[in-house]
Symmetry: D3
Subunit: 244 residues, 6 copies
């Protein structure tokens, strides 16, 4: 497997260059512009004291996420969802995935009655936008929680973040498992999987889909192993960006 | 594990009673009313000669699916999506899942330039609606393809269905893996997974989510094993309904 | 007139077979799956203690209805209104008709500050869906009121239902008045009328439309007579289903 | 009955003052600003050569109608449907009624492949807006057909209009049948009926609703008689406006 | 410049005939049907005691406006925005312009916590609809404020209206500046400008657009001068309509 | 006037630092990330051979623009227009302004039957987003036209761009005219104006609004002079970015 060289020169188990510009936004309480190679996602975290009415008085906070793509983030232009007048199924699905991934590492009791909305806007897309979004969103989330703590909204010693979280795509191309697929690889993959893994190496989400032929247990295992290793590398990039 | 008795008396690896009323609809080219215990889904397959304009002339057919729930399918009433004016994220996500699952066992070239739309309407919900929908939709799809063959739209010897497909939910409750979760079990599950498996035992889709604590590889493996076995049982129910 | 034999063998003044499966839904406070021949409508009544804000404190309850059709209830598939993003004029019109028909037999003061929403979902359509919906909805409504009484929301001796209500379509085909039109008859009718009649034989609603040539008073009278007799038969089916 | 004097001094069988300003619009091919007392409706008919694609080549024309109300046509302001983003059920229902009423007097074959869209916009509402709309729309329609004939779109001798049509509301107030209800009467009516009648005195549409107690055959007959007489008076106003 | 004679016989600096029918609506607290030649706009002002929640308790009132056009106000029919399901950009833009123009002459503190909504519905369009709307809306607004004062909602001596406001279009056609463009002139204009001017002759809004070639400062000055003079004439028509 | 020092140290006639990152996008045929101080707008130009159907065969091209803002571009988060299901009035108005500004410098005949869509997405907002968008969009447009020429879609010697265009905001604060208002200045401005000026110094658009007191001709002249000078500076930044 290690002899395979990919179009961009990577080995099968190698991530694309990952860059995290923490604090990109002047306004948001937490933010990161993250790149996985040509994929660039702007993640902002908006902290608001208080929770939606249906949560009031339960002593718990709320974390949610919205994902979207600029019309010309992709190779050909897509119509805006605001103009179509509705949010598409893919957008909804990814927004929900990001929200679940982040909530898996938040102790909403420790967060207190505060709301954090994470926006992940894809400025440029080259495969793996949802996994880049989760990985960058974690950095924005961590900073927004610290902002809330500094302002006295989040209790001083509350451990609101119980773990970190990152995500990466894996897939089988020409029979070989590959990490962090670029767009040209993604369209050729027989099986496509996204794994969301915590800093401790546990799974938050595993979503594998046969795009071509169905896959067997052995292939699934190979993909999971690759994904876990990739998320460990992403965890390092997060740690370094956060200066931990 | 085998000593655990569930609220409805099942063992952990036991499906709820599965009933498939094939040909329920007088109008559709294929149909099945499927029950997984208290979950009842009406699946209809609508066959149309021809394909959407963007596919014309490529010699390939098209299979798609739409999932929805009646407002009082659940324990308390939900507003209709037609009245809200938009399809929710969960609905979109499940519709896309069903469509992908079915397309995985269709050879669209063999189907020829024909379109099949599968509607899965949940009349009553008690957990596992998306997996019941996929399992019933396969029966409706098989009949619609035969209808198309009988009418001369699908070539006589074309093997449009290359495999069968079924789906089941699995989850970890109080640390124990369980098959085919009813609603009361679903809300308590720490990890929740849907597996879509072909008649040959290969994976089409694996979607696992940590609802509570993240899960490890060992738990994932136990859930997959349970899911594969459950889908084999569902395959038998399909075979019997189709009189194969 | 009595010598005419219809396509399905009925006499002009004969209903199609009427079947009412009371309590079809495991979740709803009242429900009925009603068939008028090939027309099948699932009627559920959802009881909620309390009324919408604009009615609060007036000591009156609220009854409303929503009608919809599954996409493949008809001979060819219709797009879902949830996907079109708006409820069509026909759907609105029938929902309003059902609501008015039911409210005509409810004493909202006796009902107390409670809300009942009736959902009428057409699973299969073969003419007369709105009249089947009204007739079945009455059964679901009656059970939901009794449920509310058993739970203590509706006062014990309050006569919330002041009469029963049923509905049937009538029409003129080839110059002859006919009761309870099936779809193939409906499309050929020169005049089409829906009558909503109480158990006491009084009119709640009369809606007659010239589809072809305008009609005169004599024809109108013949249709009304037929409709009143048909509703009396439907009243018996309701009584029997409710075990009164 | 003739001793009853109504709030505005009318006898029970008397219309409010009817004024038809034919040709109000400088742009439309036919138009009329019609008043039934305080109710003022601007009716415009837009003639287009050709028909919608689904009708092409069938040698038939198409007539349709849209009804709407200005936000402050009523005593208190209503939000615009354009801003709410959807057309309400009442609007849909009335638009459909107007369209059916007009099509009942048009021979679409004689009209040829031409389309006429009638817009009925209520500038001021005081009861009976839908009946005023139908009565005024007929005048606009007649002029639009003549315009089409003058321009050579409608064959010279084709009798596209086979009859005239008018409409009026009737109702029972304090037990007495009344013609052409003003708003203050409408809200008090126990039974409310709209009748659409051709110039020859035949029914196109009869829509009677029990707003309070259900009604019997005798009351129905009294209302119909009143409505037919009222429509005959309206026919005269139309004739006079059209200078026939 | 004075030698130029326009299609309708006007001189370049002459308004079309302006007619203001004050109090056209029986229901609105203030209203005016205004004509600028063939352009007819119905302006109604709806006065409501109280303000939207976000303004409550600030001691200030709120004035807003909505502009719309009947489908056949123009030479060919436009689809209704209610049916398209959304308000177009042009409609939004003009509504916002009218609102700003009116608020510029209202002292919201003196108005007290009251809301006035101005509806400007174009019944017939022949150029300059937005400027006619502003000019007529001022008359409706003035009457609505007096109504509020008479009812005791607006303090007796509060000077809620601090100035009057009117608007007119100007443009350059074949190199010559022209006042109050009719539709046939508007489509030919190289530069098109709308000016909103108070009774004291100050600018509230200046919106100039090069439709053809860009314009220079000298042309801009000529247009502004013409616009200010036109608004002074409109101010007289307002004064006369209001009987001031 | 020159003695006034602004919050950020600028003189009244000084622009904020202007940075134009030409070719920011890997996918678009032309692009620029432009900053006016803290305002950052990503402008992409999408070139498509061919025109919308209604323009086909007229030998003319089409240029249009869409403006939008990321939810957290501003100091507090705004809901997404895609989720609200409609595009707001402000968004529409600015999109239309940008489109008009660009079309003013394009010879659509020379462009040939090609379409260019400009997307201006505000990543961070600090006042002047629409003027930054126009200024950056011109750079993206110029590059997209060159791309079209290189690919042979635009004739080699056709002068499709007949001039350049830039825009800037000006306003009166505490009685003093100021150039290029930052957000904190914008909210305090008594009069707010946007001027769109070509490279030759002619006006394409002048939009002045009294936010507080109405303004007079002298103030208007001072603002225009400031705006023209500011646009000349922006023209230099464009020239330098384009390497002309």
């Amino acid at each position: 497997m290690t002899d395979i060289v990919r179009a961009d020169g990577r080995t099968p188990d190698q991530l694309r260059p990952v860059v995290i510009e923490r604090g990109w936004s002047a306004h948001a309480e937490g933010s990161a512009l993250i790149s996985f190679g040509g994929t660039k996602v702007l993640c902002t975290a908006s902290f608001t004291a208080g929770v939606p009415r249906w949560l009031t008085g339960k002593g718990k906070g709320w974390v949610t996420a919205e994902y979207a793509m600029l019309p010309r983030a992709t190779n050909s232009r897509n119509d805006r969802e605001s103009i179509k007048g509705r949010v598409g199924g893919r957008t909804h699905e990814i927004s929900r995935l990001i929200g679940r991934a982040l909530r898996a590492v938040v102790d909403t009791k420790a967060l207190g009655e505060n709301t954090i909305v994470i926006d992940c806007d894809v400025l440029q897309a080259d495969g793996g936008t949802r996994t880049a979004a989760i990985t960058g969103a974690y950095v924005a989330l961590a900073d927004a929680i610290e902002w809330g703590r500094a302002k006295g909204h989040v209790p001083k010693n509350a451990k609101a973040l119980i773990d970190s979280v990152a995500a990466v795509s894996v897939g089988i191309i020409d029979g070989a498992p590959m990490l962090d697929l670029a767009y040209v690889e993604d369209v050729r993959a027989e099986t496509d999987m996204n794994v969301v893994v915590t800093g401790r190496g546990l799974f938050v989400e595993v979503q594998g889909t046969a795009e071509g032929a169905p896959f067997d247990k052995r292939e699934l295992d190979a993909l999971l192993e690759l994904g876990v290793a990739g998320c460990a590398d992403l965890r390092e990039a997060q740690t370094s960006a956060l200066g931990e």
